[in-house]
């Protein structure tokens, strides 16, 4: 049994991908190289400079170590090893008992030492993680969810911990005229985790889903914030049967990852249709023109002259390390999902929506602490709060979905959700009124409890006034009286009309009684 097969059995997931929905092509192989910064670390991978280099003046977040000045030595950030290990565990990777760092030697001006301290598995299995397996879902067919959410899996070849290079900056607009560029080393030495998948993807949509899934996991782990600019980058390998593997680099967003794959598949298929062989090469994604263009010839792996970093002795993690990290790890989305379904008794669908965004899920948890009714709370979040967010989005481009959801949630508090849930459940407020109050609460930021008090004070309890409204409705729509003898819902329909007229102020019990009286009288 191979390592992957035994792992599949442990995890109880099927390795065979569900490829029969018409959009996948057996002849296409897509693999990913994902670089995720450990943005939640305080300091860089090998020195005491800030991990958060953003918004610092160029080259001010540097020291002799991350500038690679003569004589400086790297000092490994222990927390980075722990964070990377958490990522490995969440992707079901093995963690070796000993890890080693290697030097990858190549010249590029953004690399202060002209070598990158990274990990390398060709001489020994010593990167922080290897042989992982993770399932994700292709849930793009909303209507037929249960049928289409069969598991898809991707194998993780290896995960390695390494340092980010600096940044080369071309002055805007005239990079071709300028005969110079600027280098900012503020980013140099930031801890980066590289995740290399096997070429198990068959289409661009699956890649997008997978990327969303793992960045969500990293957010749950509290190791990386994928919303920060440049925090997560992704290179793509695409090959179409009969042709060689093409690597696409320089892709700045997940949306463009999807686009570049679609472009590249089309390009390669077109070539092979014309009997032109696809050669192995590295191409760059041209963000403006939305095409891939050939890059300089890719250096062969061996030209990097890898050898073990002599300044960092091999690190012995020991056999109990994985368990130790696992026991102290934050709850993973999949574990949260299980809790919502098993303990909170929420539906799979609702639970799924909640966990898909950590901010939403955390919001739900916070609201529960104030008023413990999973059903009611989740209902208000999923059906009211998020659908309002989605409505907003329909009028705008769909980019940065998670940012918008966060933005929306940021000015609604868990207290408001808890209050409205409590009103409905304990004071049996009419759901329509509750929605109305909730809408006002979101707009004004006022507490639903306050708003309902106002409604209570201004409530119309005067029978004469209510009778006047009933009279108005019945004279406008005379057919209602006839229908009332056969249709028992007419009374409620009239109540709705009156509520609308009075802005929800009419006492519902009294009004319903008076409606019934007047229908029967007629």
């Amino acid at each position: 049994m191979t390592r992957t097969e035994s792992k599949t059995q442990q995890l109880g997931i099927s390795l065979k991908n569900d490829d029969d929905d018409g959009n996948v092509d057996e002849n296409i192989k897509i693999g990913l190289e994902i670089h995720s910064q450990l943005t939640r670390l305080d300091t860089k991978l090998f020195c005491g400079c800030f991990s958060n280099y953003r918004d610092i003046k160029p080259n001010e977040n540097t020291c002799p170590i991350c500038l690679g000045l003569p004589g400086s030595l790297p000092l490994l950030n222990k927390k980075a090893v722990e964070y990377a290990s958490m990522m490995c565990i969440s992707l079901n990777c093995n963690i070796p008992e000993k890890i080693t760092f290697y030097r990858k030697n190549y010249f590029y001006p953004d690399l202060p030492k002209n070598f990158q301290i990274t990990q390398y598995n060709s001489y020994e299995l010593s990167s922080i993680g290897y042989d992982g397996l993770i399932s994700y879902f292709n849930d793009k067919v909303e209507s037929d969810r249960e049928e289409k959410t069969k598991g898809k899996t991707v194998r993780i070849k290896r995960i390695q911990l390494e340092e980010d290079p600096g940044k080369i900056i071309y002055e805007e607009n005239n990079s071709k005229i300028n005969n110079y560029c600027l280098i900012d080393y503020n980013r140099a030495g930031v801890a980066l985790v590289e995740i290399v998948t096997e070429p198990d993807f068959r289409n661009a949509n699956d890649v997008r889903l997978f990327l969303n899934k793992i960045t969500n996991i990293f957010e749950y782990l509290g190791v990386s914030d994928p919303n920060l600019e440049g925090a997560v980058r992704c290179d793509v390998n695409v090959s179409v049967k009969g042709g060689k593997k093409v690597e696409i680099k320089n892709i700045s967003s997940f949306k463009d990852v999807e686009k570049s794959i679609i472009y590249e598949i089309t390009r390669q298929k077109t070539l092979s249709m014309h009997q032109i062989s696809v050669k192995s090469e590295t191409r760059h994604w041209d963000e403006k023109r939305k095409i891939t263009i050939p890059a300089r010839t890719k250096e062969e792996e061996d030209e990097y002259k890898y050898f073990p970093e002599p300044d960092i002795p091999r690190i012995v993690l020991g056999s109990g390390y994985r368990e130790k990290i696992k026991n102290n790890m934050p709850e993973l989305p999949i574990e949260r999902l299980k809790r919502y379904v098993d303990i909170h008794k929420l539906s799979n669908h609702v639970s799924d929506i909640l966990i898909n965004n950590k901010k939403v899920s955390d919001f739900y948890e916070e609201s529960l602490k104030i008023y413990n009714s999973p059903k009611e709370i989740s209902n208000w979040i999923v059906n009211e709060l998020l659908s309002k967010t989605n409505d907003l989005e329909k009028n705008e481009p769909t980019d940065n979905k998670s940012n918008k959801q966060r933005g929306f949630i940021s000015h609604v508090t868990p207290q408001q959700i808890a209050d409205i849930a409590k009103l409905v459940e304990e004071k049996s407020i009419n759901r329509n009124i509750a929605k109305d109050i909730f809408g006002k609460s979101i707009k004004t930021g006022e507490s639903p409890l306050k708003l309902i008090e106002n409604v209570e004070i201004r409530k119309i309890r005067d029978s004469e006034t209510i009778r006047k409204y009933i009279g108005e409705v019945l004279s406008d729509e005379k057919h209602l009286i006839e229908q009332s003898s056969t249709n028992p819902n007419v009374a409620n329909f009239i109540l709705g009309k009156i509520m609308k007229k009075t802005g929800g102020r009419a006492d519902p019990q009294l009004t319903l009684k008076l409606i019934r009286e007047s229908i029967e009288r007629k």
Binding site: G68, L69, G71, P74, P109, E303, K305, Y306, P313
Partner: protein, 503 residues
């Protein structure tokens, strides 16, 4: 400087002959001012160094300032450091804040270090005066200190001869009585070879005993910083100051996991004899050295026997493979370490106009010296596509075999004895054209670097022409005290601390 007159002319002229510990004592006892002494040292340097060429840069202004502060400290009865007022020279591959760290290379001609090496911090904390940066073979690559952008270092015993390398400036400055103590670095013998050629004491400590933070790396897994001086007390004092765990160097913390406080002592000769050290004589290497070297070493062995040491012959089998393993590991690491010198961030003045990155990089890198280029080429080759297993991995296996061989030897012996260098100092320019001849000179010294064990060179005598010969003593890891004890014995019997060149 009224005090100067009070001391009398004769006393002042001999001050430069004092060992570091004696200087420190006199300053502490207020027999001399630190300021007076340092001024005298400046004068000595300006008189002598034109013949030796041991300094690349001088730090006189701030050394003087520091000396004045020391005098003030004494007046104010403040706490005083153990290296009070002792001027110490630093090999120019060890970083000193605000001073150039050129590594004797054009490539770092204008590079000023913005930080102190850990060893420099520790010296300054004990009130030592950092007096300047010392000449060497470019990036530590050489056995003669001829391969320097700043010219060859001359041997104080005969200025037509090489001082040895690569820490030639560190040895020559101490030998020629310019300064009492210096720091060198030793990757394959770079402290011991010039110590032998210039007749001073030099120790390469156990790998990991002294922090490498701030030492410009040549071969990270082999090299160590160590002190060089004319007396064993100065060696012990300086080693006590610079050794021990450093959180900035991961190889120092893992090697010295014992977490012990290292405090080396100077024992009496009777005390040393009382320890009944077992001495192993590396017979095969003694016999294959030059006859005058061999004879001198045998005299030292006789002296040991005479005083009742248990002396037995032994040999090292793997020495034939050691040289190949050493040059594979050292050049591989060097080729990677030196790749950062592309003159983009620091280096020397050169207008990049008209170049793109790659052409600029290869153009400026042509300014490395020939020996450095040779080693970068060799190192790049052994690490290149498909050769890793054939060279680098195999060299590491040889290294392990050598370690094991020493482990076995140190079950039988406390200390091993062999010549530091198989030959006598040679004339400047004599061997320049034959790189392999120079490589072969390293055979006796690289063993300790490959095994990570401590090794010391002490003055053993002179050739018929008056050229110094060194005796090398090895002990097991973290057993520096044994080396100090054996050196104490010889210093006491031979009085080699009184062997001074006429310059």
């Amino acid at each position: 400087m009224g005090m100067l007159l009070a001391l009398g002319y004769d006393k002042m002229t001999n001050l430069h002959k004092l060992a570091g510990y004696q200087v420190s004592q006199k300053i502490k006892n207020q027999e001399i001012f630190a300021e007076e002494y340092i001024s005298l040292v400046f004068e000595r340097i300006s008189n002598v160094d034109s013949k030796i060429n041991s300094f690349i840069s001088k730090n006189h202004e701030s050394a003087l300032l520091k000396a004045k502060q020391i005098d003030k400290k004494i007046r104010n009865n403040e706490k005083l450091g153990s290296l009070l007022g002792i001027p110490i020279g630093i090999k120019d591959n060890i970083s000193v804040l605000g001073l150039k760290t050129t590594c004797a290379s054009k490539m770092l001609q204008e590079y000023v270090s913005p930080y102190n090496a850990t060893v420099v911090d520790r010296l300054e904390k004990q009130d030592a005066l950092i007096i300047g940066k010392l000449n060497m073979d470019e990036f530590g690559m050489g056995t003669s200190s001829e391969f320097s952008h700043y010219g060859a270092v001359h041997n104080p015993w005969n200025q037509d001869y090489v001082a040895g390398g690569s820490s030639g400036g560190s040895a020559a400055a101490v030998s020629s009585l310019q300064i009492p103590i210096s720091l060198g670095s030793d990757t394959g013998g770079s402290i011991r070879c010039p110590s032998s050629f210039c007749s001073v004491i030099g120790i390469k400590p156990t790998y990991g005993l002294v922090s490498r933070y701030g030492l410009v790396s040549y071969s990270n897994s082999l090299e160590q910083i160590g002190p060089m001086a004319r007396t064993i007390i100065d060696i012990a004092m300086t080693l006590n100051t610079i050794c021990g765990k450093d959180s900035s160097d991961s190889t120092s913390t893992t090697a010295a996991t014992l977490d012990q406080q290292f405090e080396y002592k100077i024992n009496t000769v009777d005390g040393v004899l009382g320890k009944n050290y077992k001495v192993g004589i590396i017979d095969n290497l003694i016999l294959s050295s030059e006859s005058q070297v061999m004879e001198t070493v045998f005299k030292k062995i006789d002296l040991l026997k005479k005083h009742g040491f248990d002396v037995q012959k032994t040999k090292i089998n793997y020495s034939d493979f050691a040289l190949a393993a050493y040059y594979v590991i050292a050049t591989a690491e060097a080729s990677s370490n030196l790749s950062r010198f592309d003159n983009i961030r620091y280096g020397f003045s050169h207008n990049p106009q008209g170049y793109e990155w790659n052409s600029y990089s290869s153009h400026v890198r042509s300014n490395f010296g020939d020996e450095v280029k040779r080693r970068i080429l060799v190192g790049s080759f052994v690490l290149s596509a498909g050769y890793y297993g054939k060279y680098y991995l195999k060299a590491q296996k040889v290294r392990n075999a050598i370690k094991n061989e020493f482990n076995k030897l140190f079950k039988l012996f406390d200390v091993l004895i062999l010549p530091t260098m198989p030959i006598l100092p040679f004339k400047i320019g004599e061997k320049g054209a034959k790189p392999l001849d120079l490589f072969n000179l390293d055979i006796y010294t690289i063993l300790a670097n490959l095994a990570g064990i401590p090794a010391m060179s002490i003055p053993a005598g002179f050739s018929k022409k008056g050229l110094p010969i060194g005796l090398q003593i090895l002990s097991n890891e973290f057993n520096e005290q044994i080396l100090i004890d054996i050196a104490t014995f010889f210093e006491n019997k031979d009085k080699f601390n009184e062997w001074i060149p006429n310059i």
